[in-house]
Protein backbone atom coordinates (compact mmCIF):
# COMPACT_ATOMS: atom_id res chain seq x y z
CA UNK A 1 0.00 0.00 0.00
CA UNK A 2 2.78 2.39 1.00
CA UNK A 3 4.53 1.54 -2.23
CA UNK A 4 1.51 2.64 -4.22
CA UNK A 5 1.32 5.89 -2.31
CA UNK A 6 4.99 6.47 -2.98
CA UNK A 7 4.48 5.91 -6.67
CA UNK A 8 1.56 8.29 -6.62
CA UNK A 9 3.74 10.86 -4.91
CA UNK A 10 6.36 10.49 -7.62
CA UNK A 11 3.73 10.98 -10.29
CA UNK A 12 2.39 14.04 -8.55
CA UNK A 13 5.81 15.62 -8.22
CA UNK A 14 6.59 14.87 -11.84
CA UNK A 15 3.37 16.49 -12.93
CA UNK A 16 4.10 19.49 -10.78
CA UNK A 17 7.32 19.95 -12.67
CA UNK A 18 5.59 19.95 -16.01
CA UNK A 19 4.24 23.24 -17.18
CA UNK A 20 1.13 23.24 -19.28
CA UNK A 21 1.18 23.55 -23.05
CA UNK A 22 1.37 27.22 -23.97
CA UNK A 23 -0.26 28.73 -26.98
CA UNK A 24 1.94 30.68 -29.33
CA UNK A 25 -0.08 33.83 -28.73
CA UNK A 26 2.21 36.05 -26.74
CA UNK A 27 0.08 37.28 -23.88
CA UNK A 28 2.57 36.54 -21.19
CA UNK A 29 6.31 36.69 -21.65
CA UNK A 30 8.62 35.21 -19.03
CA UNK A 31 11.81 37.21 -18.93
CA UNK A 32 14.98 35.66 -17.64
CA UNK A 33 17.48 37.90 -15.94
CA UNK A 34 20.47 37.50 -13.67
CA UNK A 35 19.87 39.95 -10.86
CA UNK A 36 23.56 40.38 -9.98
CA UNK A 37 24.70 42.99 -12.50
CA UNK A 38 24.01 46.46 -11.15
CA UNK A 39 23.08 48.99 -12.46
CA UNK A 40 21.55 46.94 -15.26
CA UNK A 41 19.83 44.24 -13.23
CA UNK A 42 20.12 43.66 -9.52
CA UNK A 43 18.25 41.70 -6.90
CA UNK A 44 17.81 43.80 -3.81
CA UNK A 45 17.93 42.20 -0.40
CA UNK A 46 14.16 42.56 -0.09
CA UNK A 47 13.67 40.53 -3.25
CA UNK A 48 12.93 43.33 -5.73
CA UNK A 49 14.51 43.28 -9.16
CA UNK A 50 15.74 46.71 -10.17
CA UNK A 51 17.88 48.16 -12.90
CA UNK A 52 18.10 49.50 -16.41
CA UNK A 53 17.36 46.12 -17.97
CA UNK A 54 14.28 45.71 -15.80
CA UNK A 55 12.91 49.13 -16.66
CA UNK A 56 13.54 48.61 -20.37
CA UNK A 57 11.86 45.22 -20.16
CA UNK A 58 8.81 46.71 -18.49
CA UNK A 59 8.65 49.47 -21.10
CA UNK A 60 8.89 46.96 -23.93
CA UNK A 61 6.17 44.78 -22.47
CA UNK A 62 3.95 47.81 -22.08
CA UNK A 63 4.61 48.64 -25.73
CA UNK A 64 3.89 45.08 -26.87
CA UNK A 65 0.82 44.94 -24.61
CA UNK A 66 1.90 41.71 -22.93
CA UNK A 67 2.28 40.73 -19.31
CA UNK A 68 5.86 40.46 -18.15
CA UNK A 69 7.00 38.01 -15.54
CA UNK A 70 10.62 38.03 -14.37
CA UNK A 71 12.57 34.88 -13.61
CA UNK A 72 16.01 35.09 -12.05
CA UNK A 73 18.59 32.61 -13.22
CA UNK A 74 22.30 32.25 -12.65
CA UNK A 75 24.29 33.64 -15.54
CA UNK A 76 26.03 30.33 -16.33
CA UNK A 77 22.72 28.61 -16.83
CA UNK A 78 20.80 31.43 -18.44
CA UNK A 79 21.05 30.27 -22.05
CA UNK A 80 20.41 26.62 -21.15
CA UNK A 81 17.48 27.91 -19.14
CA UNK A 82 16.08 29.71 -22.18
CA UNK A 83 16.53 26.61 -24.32
CA UNK A 84 14.85 24.54 -21.62
CA UNK A 85 11.75 26.75 -21.66
CA UNK A 86 12.26 28.18 -18.21
CA UNK A 87 11.61 31.59 -19.72
CA UNK A 88 10.94 33.11 -23.13
CA UNK A 89 13.44 35.94 -23.42
CA UNK A 90 16.68 37.00 -21.77
CA UNK A 91 17.01 40.66 -20.89
CA UNK A 92 20.20 40.64 -18.85
CA UNK A 93 22.73 42.74 -20.71
CA UNK A 94 23.62 39.81 -22.91
CA UNK A 95 25.91 40.78 -25.79
CA UNK A 96 24.93 39.70 -29.28
CA UNK A 97 27.76 37.48 -30.48
CA UNK A 98 28.10 34.98 -33.30
CA UNK A 99 29.02 32.27 -30.81
CA UNK A 100 25.75 32.78 -28.97
CA UNK A 101 23.82 33.11 -32.22
CA UNK A 102 24.59 29.45 -32.81
CA UNK A 103 22.32 28.58 -29.93
CA UNK A 104 19.83 31.44 -29.68
CA UNK A 105 18.45 34.31 -31.70
CA UNK A 106 18.69 37.97 -30.73
CA UNK A 107 16.60 41.08 -31.17
CA UNK A 108 18.35 44.21 -32.28
CA UNK A 109 20.52 45.79 -29.59
CA UNK A 110 19.13 47.96 -26.85
CA UNK A 111 22.42 49.36 -25.65
CA UNK A 112 26.11 49.19 -26.36
CA UNK A 113 28.87 50.15 -23.96
CA UNK A 114 32.57 49.26 -24.07
CA UNK A 115 34.48 47.12 -21.58
CA UNK A 116 36.95 48.53 -19.08
CA UNK A 117 39.54 47.30 -16.61
CA UNK A 118 39.45 48.12 -12.92
CA UNK A 119 42.49 47.92 -10.66
CA UNK A 120 43.21 48.67 -7.00
CA UNK A 121 43.98 52.31 -6.32
CA UNK A 122 47.58 51.51 -5.44
CA UNK A 123 48.13 49.42 -8.53
CA UNK A 124 51.41 49.78 -10.38
CA UNK A 125 49.79 49.04 -13.72
CA UNK A 126 49.67 51.94 -16.12
CA UNK A 127 48.49 50.53 -19.40
CA UNK A 128 46.27 47.74 -20.64
CA UNK A 129 48.52 45.80 -22.95
CA UNK A 130 49.32 42.14 -23.11
CA UNK A 131 52.86 42.69 -21.88
CA UNK A 132 51.95 45.09 -19.10
CA UNK A 133 49.35 42.70 -17.74
CA UNK A 134 51.41 39.54 -18.21
CA UNK A 135 51.39 37.22 -15.22
CA UNK A 136 48.93 39.20 -13.12
CA UNK A 137 45.81 37.80 -11.51
CA UNK A 138 43.01 38.91 -13.83
CA UNK A 139 39.37 38.42 -12.89
CA UNK A 140 36.17 38.27 -14.94
CA UNK A 141 32.72 36.78 -14.80
CA UNK A 142 32.51 33.42 -16.56
CA UNK A 143 30.46 32.99 -19.75
CA UNK A 144 30.77 36.68 -20.61
CA UNK A 145 32.20 38.48 -23.59
CA UNK A 146 34.52 40.17 -21.12
CA UNK A 147 36.17 36.91 -20.12
CA UNK A 148 36.52 36.09 -23.82
CA UNK A 149 38.07 39.50 -24.39
CA UNK A 150 40.56 38.90 -21.61
CA UNK A 151 41.45 35.51 -22.99
CA UNK A 152 41.95 36.94 -26.45
CA UNK A 153 43.83 40.15 -25.63
CA UNK A 154 45.52 39.40 -22.32
CA UNK A 155 46.38 35.77 -22.78
CA UNK A 156 49.53 36.08 -20.69
CA UNK A 157 47.62 36.97 -17.55
CA UNK A 158 46.34 34.43 -15.07
CA UNK A 159 42.63 34.58 -15.77
CA UNK A 160 40.26 33.70 -12.94
CA UNK A 161 36.58 33.17 -13.65
CA UNK A 162 33.82 33.89 -11.17
CA UNK A 163 30.15 32.98 -11.23
CA UNK A 164 28.94 36.49 -10.47
CA UNK A 165 30.43 40.02 -10.56
CA UNK A 166 30.11 40.24 -6.77
CA UNK A 167 32.79 37.63 -6.35
CA UNK A 168 35.43 39.23 -8.53
CA UNK A 169 34.64 42.57 -6.93
CA UNK A 170 35.23 40.96 -3.54
CA UNK A 171 38.53 39.48 -4.65
CA UNK A 172 39.61 42.74 -6.26
CA UNK A 173 38.84 44.58 -3.04
CA UNK A 174 40.69 42.11 -0.84
CA UNK A 175 43.71 42.07 -3.10
CA UNK A 176 43.45 38.60 -4.59
CA UNK A 177 43.08 40.08 -8.05
CA UNK A 178 45.35 42.63 -9.67
CA UNK A 179 42.75 43.62 -12.21
CA UNK A 180 39.24 42.83 -13.35
CA UNK A 181 37.42 43.37 -16.62
CA UNK A 182 33.76 44.15 -17.11
CA UNK A 183 31.43 46.67 -18.68
CA UNK A 184 32.59 50.24 -18.06
CA UNK A 185 29.20 51.25 -16.69
CA UNK A 186 29.08 48.33 -14.27
CA UNK A 187 32.57 49.07 -12.99
CA UNK A 188 31.96 52.80 -12.68
CA UNK A 189 28.76 52.16 -10.80
CA UNK A 190 30.62 49.91 -8.37
CA UNK A 191 33.53 52.29 -7.92
CA UNK A 192 31.10 54.96 -6.79
CA UNK A 193 29.96 52.78 -3.89
CA UNK A 194 31.71 52.21 -0.55
CA UNK A 195 32.93 48.77 -1.55
CA UNK A 196 34.38 50.10 -4.76
CA UNK A 197 36.31 52.85 -3.01
CA UNK A 198 39.33 50.54 -3.06
CA UNK A 199 39.74 50.75 -6.78
CA UNK A 200 39.81 52.80 -9.92
CA UNK A 201 39.43 52.35 -13.65
CA UNK A 202 42.70 51.64 -15.41
CA UNK A 203 41.32 52.33 -18.83
CA UNK A 204 38.33 51.81 -21.08
CA UNK A 205 38.96 49.28 -23.81
CA UNK A 206 38.20 49.40 -27.48
CA UNK A 207 35.28 47.17 -28.36
CA UNK A 208 36.08 44.30 -30.66
CA UNK A 209 32.93 43.60 -32.67
CA UNK A 210 33.92 39.97 -33.05
CA UNK A 211 34.20 39.44 -29.32
CA UNK A 212 31.89 42.06 -27.85
CA UNK A 213 29.34 41.74 -30.62
CA UNK A 214 26.91 44.39 -31.65
CA UNK A 215 25.87 45.39 -28.17
CA UNK A 216 23.41 44.00 -25.65
CA UNK A 217 20.32 42.41 -27.12
CA UNK A 218 17.39 40.30 -26.07
CA UNK A 219 17.90 36.57 -26.56
CA UNK A 220 15.04 34.34 -27.63
CA UNK A 221 14.79 30.78 -28.81
CA UNK A 222 15.47 30.32 -32.48
CA UNK A 223 11.94 29.23 -33.27
CA UNK A 224 10.37 32.29 -31.62
CA UNK A 225 10.95 34.64 -34.55
CA UNK A 226 7.67 36.42 -33.90
CA UNK A 227 8.71 37.31 -30.38
CA UNK A 228 12.08 38.50 -31.63
CA UNK A 229 10.51 40.76 -34.20
CA UNK A 230 8.00 42.15 -31.72
CA UNK A 231 10.84 42.98 -29.34
CA UNK A 232 12.93 44.65 -32.04
CA UNK A 233 9.92 46.70 -33.08
CA UNK A 234 9.22 47.68 -29.50
CA UNK A 235 12.83 48.75 -28.96
CA UNK A 236 12.64 51.01 -32.01
CA UNK A 237 9.35 52.42 -30.78
CA UNK A 238 10.57 53.34 -27.33
CA UNK A 239 13.70 54.84 -28.85
CA UNK A 240 11.50 57.02 -31.01
CA UNK A 241 8.89 58.07 -28.45
CA UNK A 242 11.32 59.14 -25.74
CA UNK A 243 10.61 56.37 -23.23
CA UNK A 244 14.14 55.04 -23.75
CA UNK A 245 15.65 58.42 -23.01
CA UNK A 246 13.58 58.67 -19.85
CA UNK A 247 14.93 55.36 -18.55
CA UNK A 248 18.44 56.09 -19.80
CA UNK A 249 18.64 59.37 -17.97
CA UNK A 250 17.46 57.76 -14.78
CA UNK A 251 20.66 55.74 -14.65
CA UNK A 252 23.27 57.29 -16.87
CA UNK A 253 24.65 60.63 -17.89
CA UNK A 254 25.24 59.61 -21.48
CA UNK A 255 23.28 57.73 -24.09
CA UNK A 256 24.11 54.07 -23.62
CA UNK A 257 22.54 53.11 -26.91
CA UNK A 258 25.84 53.76 -28.60
CA UNK A 259 26.47 53.90 -32.33
Amino acid sequence: MRLIMRIAAVAAITLAAVSTVQAKEWTKVRIGTEGAYPPFNNLESNGDLVGFDIDIANALCEEMKVECVFVTQDWDGIIPGLLADKFDAIIASMSITDERKEKVDFSKKYYNTPPAIAVPKDSKLTEASKEALAGIQFGAQSSTTHSNYAEAYFGDSDLKLYPTPDEYKLDLANGRLDAAIDDVVVLSDWLATDDGACCKILTTLKTDPEINGEGAGIAVRKEDTDLRDKLTEAIATIRANGKYKEINDKYFEFDVYGE
Binding site: N148, Y162, L170
Partner: protein, 280 residues
Amino acid sequence: MNNVTDNSEVNVPPAVFRARGWSGARILGYTAMGFWIAAAIGLGLFIVDSYSPAFTDRYAMKFLDGFVVTVKLVVISLVIGALLSLPIAGMRMSENRILRAISFGYVYFFRGTPLIAQAFLVYYGAGSFRPFFQDIGLWWFFRDAWYCAIFAFSLNTAAYQAEILRGSIENVAKGQWEACSSLGLPKYITFFRIILPQAMIVALRPYGNEIILMIKGSAIASIITVFDIMGEVRRAYSRSYDFQAYIWAAVMYLIMVETLRRVWDRLEKRLTRHLVRTGS
Protein backbone atom coordinates in the same frame (compact mmCIF):
# COMPACT_ATOMS: atom_id res chain seq x y z
CA MET B 1 26.36 -61.69 -12.15
CA ASN B 2 23.35 -59.45 -12.46
CA ASN B 3 23.80 -57.99 -9.02
CA VAL B 4 27.38 -56.95 -9.48
CA THR B 5 27.53 -53.20 -9.76
CA ASP B 6 29.57 -51.93 -12.60
CA ASN B 7 32.50 -50.11 -11.05
CA SER B 8 32.92 -47.91 -14.01
CA GLU B 9 29.67 -46.27 -13.07
CA VAL B 10 30.78 -43.67 -10.53
CA ASN B 11 28.18 -42.20 -8.24
CA VAL B 12 27.42 -39.07 -10.16
CA PRO B 13 24.43 -37.14 -8.97
CA PRO B 14 21.81 -36.65 -11.66
CA ALA B 15 22.56 -33.64 -13.80
CA VAL B 16 20.70 -30.62 -12.46
CA PHE B 17 18.73 -29.21 -15.28
CA ARG B 18 18.04 -25.54 -14.70
CA ALA B 19 15.40 -24.47 -17.10
CA ARG B 20 16.78 -21.66 -19.26
CA GLY B 21 13.41 -20.13 -19.54
CA TRP B 22 12.44 -16.49 -19.35
CA SER B 23 11.94 -15.90 -15.66
CA GLY B 24 10.95 -12.49 -14.47
CA ALA B 25 14.47 -11.84 -13.31
CA ARG B 26 15.87 -12.72 -16.69
CA ILE B 27 13.50 -10.41 -18.52
CA LEU B 28 14.36 -7.63 -16.14
CA GLY B 29 18.04 -8.31 -16.46
CA TYR B 30 18.04 -8.27 -20.22
CA THR B 31 15.88 -5.17 -20.30
CA ALA B 32 18.25 -3.41 -17.95
CA MET B 33 21.29 -4.44 -19.96
CA GLY B 34 19.48 -3.40 -23.09
CA PHE B 35 18.90 -0.02 -21.50
CA TRP B 36 22.57 0.41 -20.65
CA ILE B 37 23.64 -0.64 -24.12
CA ALA B 38 21.15 1.75 -25.67
CA ALA B 39 22.39 4.53 -23.40
CA ALA B 40 25.99 3.81 -24.37
CA ILE B 41 25.09 3.83 -28.05
CA GLY B 42 23.07 7.00 -27.60
CA LEU B 43 26.00 8.63 -25.87
CA GLY B 44 28.35 7.49 -28.59
CA LEU B 45 26.06 8.88 -31.25
CA PHE B 46 25.75 12.13 -29.33
CA ILE B 47 29.52 12.52 -29.19
CA VAL B 48 29.93 11.69 -32.86
CA ASP B 49 27.10 14.05 -33.72
CA SER B 50 28.42 16.94 -31.69
CA TYR B 51 31.99 16.28 -32.70
CA SER B 52 33.37 19.46 -34.05
CA PRO B 53 37.05 20.00 -34.80
CA ALA B 54 36.64 23.45 -33.32
CA PHE B 55 35.58 22.07 -29.98
CA THR B 56 38.31 19.47 -29.85
CA ASP B 57 41.04 21.83 -30.98
CA ARG B 58 40.06 24.37 -28.46
CA TYR B 59 39.37 22.27 -25.46
CA ALA B 60 41.17 18.93 -25.72
CA MET B 61 44.47 20.29 -24.44
CA LYS B 62 42.69 22.26 -21.75
CA PHE B 63 40.90 19.17 -20.52
CA LEU B 64 44.20 17.34 -20.29
CA ASP B 65 45.66 20.25 -18.35
CA GLY B 66 42.68 20.02 -16.04
CA PHE B 67 43.33 16.32 -15.60
CA VAL B 68 46.90 17.01 -14.51
CA VAL B 69 45.68 19.65 -12.09
CA THR B 70 43.19 17.22 -10.57
CA VAL B 71 45.83 14.54 -10.12
CA LYS B 72 48.23 17.01 -8.52
CA LEU B 73 45.53 18.34 -6.21
CA VAL B 74 44.46 14.88 -5.08
CA VAL B 75 47.96 13.49 -4.57
CA ILE B 76 49.29 16.49 -2.67
CA SER B 77 46.20 16.74 -0.45
CA LEU B 78 46.27 13.03 0.33
CA VAL B 79 49.95 13.05 1.26
CA ILE B 80 49.70 16.11 3.47
CA GLY B 81 46.49 14.71 4.95
CA ALA B 82 48.20 11.41 5.69
CA LEU B 83 51.03 13.16 7.50
CA LEU B 84 48.58 15.27 9.47
CA SER B 85 46.41 12.29 10.33
CA LEU B 86 49.18 10.60 12.33
CA PRO B 87 49.34 13.12 15.17
CA ILE B 88 45.58 13.57 15.12
CA ALA B 89 44.96 9.83 15.41
CA GLY B 90 47.52 9.75 18.18
CA MET B 91 45.71 12.51 20.00
CA ARG B 92 42.42 10.71 19.56
CA MET B 93 43.80 7.66 21.30
CA SER B 94 45.78 9.48 23.95
CA GLU B 95 45.02 9.34 27.63
CA ASN B 96 45.12 13.10 27.92
CA ARG B 97 41.53 14.38 28.00
CA ILE B 98 42.36 17.73 26.46
CA LEU B 99 44.20 16.22 23.51
CA ARG B 100 41.34 13.81 22.97
CA ALA B 101 38.83 16.66 23.03
CA ILE B 102 40.76 18.84 20.60
CA SER B 103 41.22 16.06 18.09
CA PHE B 104 37.62 14.94 18.51
CA GLY B 105 36.46 18.47 17.79
CA TYR B 106 38.71 18.68 14.75
CA VAL B 107 37.51 15.40 13.32
CA TYR B 108 33.88 16.20 14.11
CA PHE B 109 34.09 19.55 12.36
CA PHE B 110 35.74 18.30 9.19
CA ARG B 111 33.61 15.21 8.88
CA GLY B 112 30.39 16.96 9.84
CA THR B 113 30.50 19.88 7.43
CA PRO B 114 30.35 19.71 3.66
CA LEU B 115 33.64 20.01 1.80
CA ILE B 116 32.20 22.86 -0.24
CA ALA B 117 31.47 24.83 2.92
CA GLN B 118 35.02 24.23 4.16
CA ALA B 119 36.43 25.34 0.81
CA PHE B 120 34.35 28.52 0.83
CA LEU B 121 35.27 29.21 4.43
CA VAL B 122 38.97 29.00 3.63
CA TYR B 123 38.91 30.77 0.27
CA TYR B 124 36.45 33.59 0.86
CA GLY B 125 37.01 33.73 4.58
CA ALA B 126 40.73 34.19 4.14
CA GLY B 127 40.01 37.20 1.96
CA SER B 128 38.36 38.99 4.82
CA PHE B 129 41.40 38.37 7.03
CA ARG B 130 43.83 39.75 4.53
CA PRO B 131 45.42 42.39 6.81
CA PHE B 132 46.02 39.73 9.45
CA PHE B 133 47.65 37.40 6.97
CA GLN B 134 49.72 40.16 5.51
CA ASP B 135 50.97 40.98 8.99
CA ILE B 136 52.14 37.45 9.59
CA GLY B 137 53.45 37.16 6.06
CA LEU B 138 51.10 34.42 4.92
CA TRP B 139 48.91 36.37 2.53
CA TRP B 140 50.73 35.02 -0.52
CA PHE B 141 49.47 31.57 0.49
CA PHE B 142 45.83 32.38 1.02
CA ARG B 143 45.72 34.73 -1.92
CA ASP B 144 46.12 31.85 -4.32
CA ALA B 145 43.08 29.69 -4.98
CA TRP B 146 45.29 26.65 -5.54
CA TYR B 147 46.87 26.84 -2.08
CA CYS B 148 43.50 27.48 -0.51
CA ALA B 149 42.14 24.37 -2.17
CA ILE B 150 45.09 22.26 -1.01
CA PHE B 151 44.73 23.69 2.48
CA ALA B 152 41.02 22.90 2.75
CA PHE B 153 41.32 19.46 1.14
CA SER B 154 44.30 18.41 3.23
CA LEU B 155 42.60 19.35 6.46
CA ASN B 156 39.48 17.49 5.34
CA THR B 157 41.19 14.28 4.33
CA ALA B 158 43.38 14.38 7.46
CA ALA B 159 40.23 14.12 9.56
CA TYR B 160 38.93 11.14 7.62
CA GLN B 161 42.30 9.43 7.50
CA ALA B 162 42.75 9.94 11.24
CA GLU B 163 39.52 8.08 11.84
CA ILE B 164 40.53 5.27 9.49
CA LEU B 165 43.88 5.02 11.23
CA ARG B 166 42.36 5.07 14.67
CA GLY B 167 39.73 2.51 13.76
CA SER B 168 42.21 0.12 12.27
CA ILE B 169 44.71 0.45 15.11
CA GLU B 170 42.02 -0.12 17.69
CA ASN B 171 40.95 -3.14 15.67
CA VAL B 172 44.23 -4.90 16.22
CA ALA B 173 43.76 -7.43 19.00
CA LYS B 174 44.75 -6.23 22.45
CA GLY B 175 46.70 -9.42 22.77
CA GLN B 176 49.28 -8.10 20.34
CA TRP B 177 50.11 -5.17 22.61
CA GLU B 178 50.23 -7.42 25.64
CA ALA B 179 52.47 -9.93 23.91
CA CYS B 180 54.86 -7.19 22.89
CA SER B 181 55.08 -5.73 26.36
CA SER B 182 55.60 -9.18 27.82
CA LEU B 183 58.48 -9.56 25.40
CA GLY B 184 59.87 -6.30 26.69
CA LEU B 185 59.65 -4.47 23.34
CA PRO B 186 59.68 -0.67 23.51
CA LYS B 187 56.48 1.13 22.54
CA TYR B 188 57.71 2.52 19.26
CA ILE B 189 58.93 -0.82 17.99
CA THR B 190 55.66 -2.38 19.05
CA PHE B 191 53.78 0.25 17.16
CA PHE B 192 55.76 0.44 13.95
CA ARG B 193 56.81 -3.19 13.54
CA ILE B 194 53.91 -5.14 14.99
CA ILE B 195 50.72 -3.10 15.29
CA LEU B 196 50.88 -0.80 12.29
CA PRO B 197 51.42 -3.49 9.64
CA GLN B 198 48.41 -5.38 10.92
CA ALA B 199 46.39 -2.19 11.13
CA MET B 200 47.29 -1.25 7.58
CA ILE B 201 45.77 -4.41 6.24
CA VAL B 202 42.45 -3.61 7.84
CA ALA B 203 42.77 -0.01 6.74
CA LEU B 204 43.42 -0.83 3.10
CA ARG B 205 39.82 -0.81 1.96
CA PRO B 206 38.80 2.39 3.75
CA TYR B 207 41.96 4.11 2.49
CA GLY B 208 41.07 3.10 -1.04
CA ASN B 209 37.62 4.56 -0.51
CA GLU B 210 39.10 7.75 0.83
CA ILE B 211 41.29 8.17 -2.24
CA ILE B 212 38.25 7.75 -4.45
CA LEU B 213 36.29 10.20 -2.33
CA MET B 214 39.12 12.71 -2.66
CA ILE B 215 39.14 12.34 -6.43
CA LYS B 216 35.43 13.03 -6.49
CA GLY B 217 35.69 15.81 -3.95
CA SER B 218 38.37 17.55 -5.97
CA ALA B 219 35.64 18.63 -8.35
CA ILE B 220 34.66 21.19 -5.73
CA ALA B 221 37.91 23.02 -6.28
CA SER B 222 36.45 24.28 -9.55
CA ILE B 223 33.99 26.37 -7.58
CA ILE B 224 36.83 28.31 -6.00
CA THR B 225 38.34 29.07 -9.41
CA VAL B 226 40.82 26.21 -9.65
CA PHE B 227 41.02 24.88 -13.19
CA ASP B 228 40.88 21.18 -12.57
CA ILE B 229 38.86 18.85 -14.84
CA MET B 230 35.58 20.28 -13.59
CA GLY B 231 36.86 23.83 -13.88
CA GLU B 232 38.00 23.41 -17.47
CA VAL B 233 34.81 21.61 -18.38
CA ARG B 234 32.64 24.33 -16.90
CA ARG B 235 34.63 26.95 -18.73
CA ALA B 236 34.23 25.03 -21.98
CA TYR B 237 30.49 24.69 -21.41
CA SER B 238 30.08 28.32 -20.50
CA ARG B 239 31.49 29.34 -23.86
CA SER B 240 30.11 26.71 -26.18
CA TYR B 241 27.02 25.48 -24.32
CA ASP B 242 27.99 22.13 -25.77
CA PHE B 243 26.93 19.38 -23.44
CA GLN B 244 29.67 17.02 -24.60
CA ALA B 245 32.04 18.88 -22.29
CA TYR B 246 30.34 17.27 -19.33
CA ILE B 247 30.38 13.87 -21.00
CA TRP B 248 34.15 14.10 -21.37
CA ALA B 249 34.44 15.08 -17.73
CA ALA B 250 32.38 12.04 -16.77
CA VAL B 251 34.59 9.79 -18.91
CA MET B 252 37.77 11.14 -17.34
CA TYR B 253 36.54 10.74 -13.79
CA LEU B 254 35.17 7.27 -14.43
CA ILE B 255 38.47 6.13 -15.92
CA MET B 256 40.37 7.51 -12.93
CA VAL B 257 38.08 5.99 -10.33
CA GLU B 258 37.68 2.62 -11.99
CA THR B 259 41.41 2.23 -12.59
CA LEU B 260 42.14 3.10 -9.00
CA ARG B 261 39.48 0.78 -7.69
CA ARG B 262 40.77 -2.19 -9.65
CA VAL B 263 44.38 -1.50 -8.77
CA TRP B 264 43.42 -1.17 -5.13
CA ASP B 265 41.41 -4.40 -5.20
CA ARG B 266 44.44 -6.23 -6.63
CA LEU B 267 46.64 -4.68 -3.98
CA GLU B 268 44.27 -5.68 -1.24
CA LYS B 269 43.94 -9.24 -2.53
CA ARG B 270 47.68 -9.59 -2.73
CA LEU B 271 48.39 -8.18 0.70
CA THR B 272 45.71 -10.24 2.40
CA ARG B 273 46.30 -13.51 0.59
CA HIS B 274 47.49 -15.03 3.81
CA LEU B 275 44.20 -14.28 5.52
CA VAL B 276 41.30 -16.67 5.26
CA ARG B 277 38.15 -14.97 4.11
CA THR B 278 34.93 -15.94 5.83
CA GLY B 279 31.55 -15.21 4.34
CA SER B 280 31.42 -12.39 1.82
